[in-house]
Amino acid sequence: MADTLLEIKNLRIEATVYAPGEKPRDVVIVDDVSLTLERGKVMGLIGESGAGKSTIGLSALSYGRGGIRLSGGNILLNGREIRAAGAATLRGLRGKEVTYVAQSAAAAFNPAKRLMEQVTEATLHHGLMSKDEAEKRAVDLFRTLSLPDPENFGKRYPHQVSGGQLQRAMTAMALCPKPDLVIFDEPTTALDVTTQIDVLAAIKTAIAETGVAALYITHDLAVVAQVSDEIMVLRHGKMVEHGTVQQIIEAPREEYTRALISVRSIDHQQKQPTPEPLLRVESVSARYGAMAKDVLSDVSVELHPGQTLALVGESGSGKSTMARVITGLLPPRKGTITFDGKPLPPALRQRSRDELRELQMIYQMADVAMNPRQTVATIIGRPLEFYFGLRGRKRDERVQELLDAIELGKGFADRYPAELSGGQKQRVCIARALAAKPKLIICDEVTSALDPLVADGILKLLLDLQAREGVAYLFITHDIATVRAIADSIAVMYRGKVQRYGPKDQVLTPPFDAYTDLLLSSVPEMQLGWLEKVLAHRRMTSAGN
């Protein structure tokens, strides 16, 4: 075949693990994966974390992170074998034939150098163009990727532009040397939905205009469906299914693929408000230190006992600040908070132990929210001692009850956080919050760092516990699908203000205000042509205005 660009045959990738207290052993990260990519085509690699998708993507550059070894099989790029090629050959193809777009552009750009220098570096290093030509091409790419002021964009330093702009600049950097293949490794995962859609559209346009082939790696099937021709589903380093986008989405053959598609199908019956709210936030304004502007301005919401209020919004909208105000970490500048019929003292120090107990928190990063040197039993047992004075046998029994409640078995009490998976860690955090028998738990992006299927399990557990224990949740998230699954009422936040607030069915039913419309329509949907539809819709509405 003349137009085959990349052919991977029976690829096997291994790494040596140095577990503490054990002999180093080899683990297989990718096993017997084969794929063929034709010139100008886009293949999506999809799977959960640990599926080996990034590792496979980087193998197209014959590169292994850390101690990873490409130990078997063939990688043919432009017809030549590169798996075991020498350093000089690899330097010759990296940045010239194959380029790479990393997940976090903010970390992938050198903070000490101007963008233009970095965008054109590979092109100039390989002597592909003169400096003027390369810079002209970079400016053209900036324009294609709809970056602001393309002529002068390259003169800036990475910290001077936004996250979404950096991600597009990274795409420009990858496309500048006119490569045959670009590896996109979760390029939009770290972005807000409303930003993600712009970057996605820019990447799609750039791929179409340059005719470059791409491997597009993501855990979000809905995203990959918008840009790819084919999709390969991976799990635990093995291929699960491979087919055209249409076939994978409309007629998945494998059980696992079906699970990925139907994720977030929790059916939650919205509850009716009770006469007396548990938490009432009234016209609260707050700011940090000597800042001139309020981060929260005039926010009022209510949360009823045993129900869930979702705070939705992009990063910087004030969601987490709200949690800090309610927990007393950041006393508000104006406004009052009433909890269980009584006014809540604004600052943490003024609150009684019972007031502290009744209000617990679960965080996004479960692994940094636990002391790595304490066992699960100690972590969960701490609030039992602190609030209820439970010790010895009684404490152990209660710990076991809580472990049962979060669906973790007996053996977990003596484990350390490092011995738990991401989902299990978050469950332990939930148990720790429950141990205090709170009336309200603030959940700050608790599922954002988890794979979709694991996140689903956590949401189901939270709903279960709510039904049993009658605890209320203040659920902070940027993910609309999560909101749909769990909320009874919703507050949409934008730049520190509540943009739209009410019971779930009202908030999610048109007519929408402009921002809610933008937010809701930006959530990728699992259908072909969704991106084009949304963009067309936006052009129409902006033309209508």
């Binding site: 550059l61 330097r91 010759g92 990296r94 380029t99 903070p111 570096e121 330093y157 001077q160």
Partner: protein, 318 residues
């Protein structure tokens, strides 16, 4: 306001404050030294009246604060007083010696700083392989040996055995630049060996720290050579810690050369200081202390300023 001028002014003010504090400590420190200057000058058999007269003529009967401020203000005007032991003007006798010390330090710095940074880069390039281990072994050995021993070993080899350089570093104004270089070759070599390890290891550690960053992977995936990548992408982000350790070592080259100057009989500040401490010549000790403190604080201030200027976030605010 642009953050840089503000930060620079802040640092300069802090430096001045620190210098003031150092001058107080030098003054107090020399005051609580055991012994009595008048006694030291007049000898054990002086009468109480003679001692009292001597103290009055030296101004030692004034209150300490008065003496301190008059000392400080004349020092600010360049008048460091006269040496008690020989009655000469301190400023003019120090000038030549300070020049010599700075010359030796400069020669040592010109060799050791580029060498330390280059070796540091090389150690990162061949991390955990034999060049890295060899560099570490040699520099650590040289830092572990006492300076005077190192000095005598080098003197024995280069001067006595091979006759390449003079063993006594005589230097005077009549010599040409090359002659001077020849004269200080051995002490400069010893000083280089003494400061090299610290700077080299810090360079290595600072760059290795940066090598973990995602942008290093980006550069590697552009097909850059390993050494280019380290020098061009890692090094600029490790400047602040490197500059700091370089400056501490430069300060050491000036302030800590006492031993080496004695070993090589080099007419620098260190020798001068040691001679006069022995004679309890307080004004000289104070003057030397003040000069050393100024150099030390000045170099560290410079390190701070370079660190500030090397930060693109401060240089180019949003």
């Amino acid at each position: 306001m642009h953050p840089i001028p503000k930060l620079v002014i802040q640092r300069l003010a802090l430096g001045l404050l620190l210098l003031f504090a150092a001058s107080v400590m030098i003054f107090v420190g020399t005051m609580i030294l055991p012994g009595d200057v008048a006694q030291a000058i007049l000898g054990q058999n002086a009468t109480p009246e003679a001692l009292a007269n001597m103290r009055a003529s030296l101004g030692l009967d004034q209150p300490a604060t008065t003496r301190y401020f008059s000392w400080l203000f004349s020092a600010l005007q360049g008048d460091l007083g006269t040496a008690l032991s020989n009655g000469r003007d301190i400023a003019s006798s120090i000038a030549g010696r300070l020049q010599n010390t700075l010359f030796l330090a400069a020669v040592a710095a010109c060799i050791s700083v580029p060498m330390a940074i280059f070796l540091g880069l090389l150690a990162v390039r061949y991390r955990d392989r034999w060049p890295d281990k060899l560099i570490s072994a040699i520099t650590l050995t040289s830092i572990s040996l006492p300076e005077f021993l190192l000095g005598y070993v080098i003197m024995y080899l280069f001067s006595v055995q091979w006759g390449l350089f003079p063993s006594v570093s005589n230097i005077n104004d009549g010599m040409s630049f090359l002659q001077k270089l020849n004269a200080v070759a051995l002490p400069a070599m010893v000083l280089t060996l003494v400061v090299l390890a610290h700077m080299m290891r810090m360079t290595r550690a600072a760059i290795l720290n940066v090598m973990q960053s995602a942008y290093i992977e980006t550069a590697e995936l552009k097909g850059l050579r390993r050494f280019t990548l380290i020098a061009r992408h890692a090094m600029p982000n490790a400047i602040a810690p490197i500059v700091n350790v370089v400056m501490i070592n430069l300060a050491y080259l000036v302030v800590g050369v006492v031993v080496i100057e004695v070993v090589f009989v080099y007419p620098g500040m260190g020798q001068y200081l040691v001679d006069h401490v022995a004679k309890r010549d307080v004004p000289v000790v104070q003057a030397c202390g003040l000069i050393f403190a100024t150099i030390y604080i000045g170099l560290n201030l410079l390190a701070d300023l370079i660190s500030i200027l090397s930060n693109p976030r401060l240089r180019h605010p949003k």
